[in-house]
């Protein structure tokens, strides 16, 4: 196991270097003038300069690419991604401000996505080829085919427009005032957690109410994904000899299914977690845009619309780095949990 972890850690810098090269090669597709914006951290730097050529020379934007890469990566290493026009702030600041909202939404989604998907998959497998199996599978394939932006807008239309239950945004106006007031301490920027820490349960409830629609929109898609893997693994596990033995010795059906089969069927499910986390992160761009949640995803979308190159590139690089680290953590923890994964 130690050698597996060491190998994973050894690959990490290679992947990080590769991702930085990938992002940098996209920067190099821009002309020197457009590239300039990724180097300027404050519009004040442009004041008093009337010759753009001079700036291009100053930042060495006509130098060979490897020299430019060296300068760029050392800036990035110091947290300098340039100035974001769409946020009106340095990219690093913009990302830091929007980070809590994204994390809050992502963490809240994980629980229903994983448990909902697993429960549906187990039910489907236990009732293989019965009516309920067919219903769940049709539900899954429809959920998988529904583009998130169509589903999200429908949710907004019905649950906000018609019923008025689930408003967009992160908080109602009255709650925003409380959160911004001096008495309310912002520990994490995640309103649900902060509300709990401030013992202000009205804010907590309001924040939860605003999160329901985005979480459902994300879940619908990923339930199908997890359900399918759980179901297929459950069907395979239920045919194993030890399940037959458990049944033969007279154990109750419930115990056989939930104690013997489910646990073993779930191990392969965790191996797709990395793929799911990547997909969830991508989905946040859509969901945050639709439900007007000021997070990283919405930042990516607005930067792209306004051709804010530093914002888009910085956001992608940040997303990439974060996900690589999360995936590393996930992989290593599986290796610790399940000896079979290490051997692959």
């Amino acid at each position: 196991m130690i050698s597996y972890i060491i190998r994973r850690l050894f690959i990490l810098p290679v992947i990080l270097f590769g991702v930085s090269l990938l992002i940098f090669s996209m920067i190099m597709m821009l002309g020197p003038y457009q590239r300039l914006s990724t180097y300027i951290t404050d519009p004040a730097q442009l004041k008093g300069v009337d010759d753009v050529e001079q700036l291009i020379a100053k930042y060495g934007l006509d130098d060979p690419w490897y020299e430019q890469y060296g300068r760029w990566i050392s800036g990035v290493a110091q947290g300098d991604f340039g100035w974001s026009e769409s946020a009106g702030a340095p990219v690093t600041t913009a990302i830091a401000n929007r980070f809590p909202a994204t994390i809050e939404l992502a963490l809240l989604s994980l629980i229903p996505v994983i448990f909902g998907g697993i429960i549906l998959g187990v039910i489907s497998a236990v009732h293989h080829n019965k009516l309920i199996d067919h219903i769940i599978r049709i539900f899954a394939v429809i959920g998988w085919s529904f583009p998130s932006f169509v589903f999200g807008l429908l949710v907004l239309m019905i649950f906000y427009g018609v019923l008025g239950w689930l408003p967009p945004g992160r908080l109602s106006n009255w709650a925003t005032e409380i959160v911004r007031s001096a008495e309310f301490a912002n520990y994490t920027g995640m309103y649900i957690l902060d509300g709990l820490l401030n013992f202000n349960f009205a804010v907590v409830l309001d924040a939860i109410r605003h999160m329901i629609a985005p979480v459902i929109t994300i879940s619908i898609l990923w339930w199908a994904f997890i359900l399918r893997i759980t179901r297929s693994n459950m069907l395979e596990t239920l045919k194993k000899d030890y399940i037959r033995t458990a049944r033969a010795k007279g154990l109750a059906d419930n115990i056989v299914v939930y104690k013997h089969a489910v646990r073993n069927a779930l191990i392969p499910v965790v191996t797709v977690a990395g793929q799911m986390i990547l997909g969830l992160a991508g989905g946040l761009v859509i969901v945050e845009s639709i439900f007007n949640i000021r997070g990283l995803g919405q930042f990516m979308a607005t930067s792209a619309q306004q051709l804010d190159y530093p914002g888009v590139l910085g956001g992608a690089l940040y997303f990439g780095l974060l996900l690589i680290l999360i995936n590393l953590f996930v992989d290593v923890s599986y290796a610790v949990i399940d000896p079979r994964i290490r051997l692959e």
């Binding site: 429809i142 932006f149 590139l313």
Partner: protein, 291 residues
């Protein structure tokens, strides 16, 4: 399992038959588009004609049977020609990215060693940025337009085919027929094409059919976010982005503009559903765990 057998089972299965019928319907719409919705300017058929200049969508009427969306773009026309856009994006992107993936995966597995290691690490790098985010970045840099959307989708979608192909090739590489061809002195090119690819291609084709839907969804997502098709281009994602400002309806009638969202929404969902129904049936037929 032979492909004739698979095809037979696909047609016998009610669910996949439904998928095939929906796709056939879309193919008919796409082929007959110039007759169903004649373009005003035959040189620019993908530009949706406008019924006026006011912003507010108009409900279905005799002149515009599905109504008009924001900016008076005719919804019916957009749906019909959007079908062509969807097929074009799906076929081009899936075709090219699968071909790339097949070549890359085969080379990695066949030559092995350092080449394999390098190719697989490059694959990891391309996979570490979420697909939608990577395509958003590339389209932003290349500029709006359907061609650039397709380039971005291809750039970031060849990896799963490459991985699948690599594992396929690794499993047949040591088989006797390949070793026999090697011993007879066949060159690499002939071995790869005649003996390896032809024997491993089937799962890749299935994967490709399942990716048709998801590529079209991603392309429309880009249009929806405002970085894909240029304004007025017949594209389902853009039709839905037009609906965005109108989903809350008017005072007292929240569903007043339902047609701007629901009609394009049905088109794109049905299109993806049909590919996924076929893909699902494919998977069941071929999944050895379930037989």
């Amino acid at each position: 399992m032979e492909w004739q057998e698979v095809l037979k089972r696909l047609l016998q299965n009610k669910i996949s038959l439904l998928g095939i019928l929906i796709i056939l319907f879309f193919i008919v719409v796409a082929v007959l588009a110039p007759w169903i919705a004649p373009p005003q300017d035959p040189d620019e058929p993908y530009l949706i004609p406008r019924g006026g200049w006011s912003i507010e969508p108009q409900p279905p009427s005799e002149e515009h049977i599905f109504g008009t969306t924001e900016g008076q773009y005719d919804i019916f026309y957009g749906i019909v020609w959007g079908t062509r856009t969807a097929f074009r994006i799906g076929l081009v992107v899936v075709g090219i990215s699968s071909t790339l993936g097949i070549i890359i995966g085969t080379v990695a597995a066949y030559y092995g060693g350092l080449i394999d290691e390098i190719i697989m690490r490059i694959t990891d790098v391309f996979m570490s940025i979420p697909f939608i985010i990577a395509t958003i970045v590339l389209v932003t840099i290349l500029g709006q337009g359907i061609t650039n959307v397709m380039i971005a989708l291809i750039t970031f979608s060849w990896m799963s085919t490459a991985r699948l192909m690599r594992s396929q090739v690794l499993s047949v590489k040591e088989d006797e027929f390949v070793q026999a061809a090697l011993a007879l002195g066949a060159n690499d090119f002939r071995i790869i094409f005649r003996h390896i690819i032809l024997n491993t291609i089937f799962p890749v084709v299935i994967q490709a059919s399942m990716r048709m839907g998801s590529m079209v969804i991603t392309a429309s997502t880009l249009s929806f976010l405002g970085v894909g098709a240029p304004e007025g281009y017949a594209d389902w994602g853009q039709m839905i982005s037009f609906a965005r400002n109108w989903i809350l309806g008017v005072e007292g009638d929240p569903l007043h503009y339902w047609y701007t969202l629901v009609i394009p929404g049905i088109a794109i969902t049905l299109f993806c559903l049909s590919w996924n129904l076929i893909g699902d049936a494919f998977r069941d037929i071929l999944d050895p765990k379930l037989n």
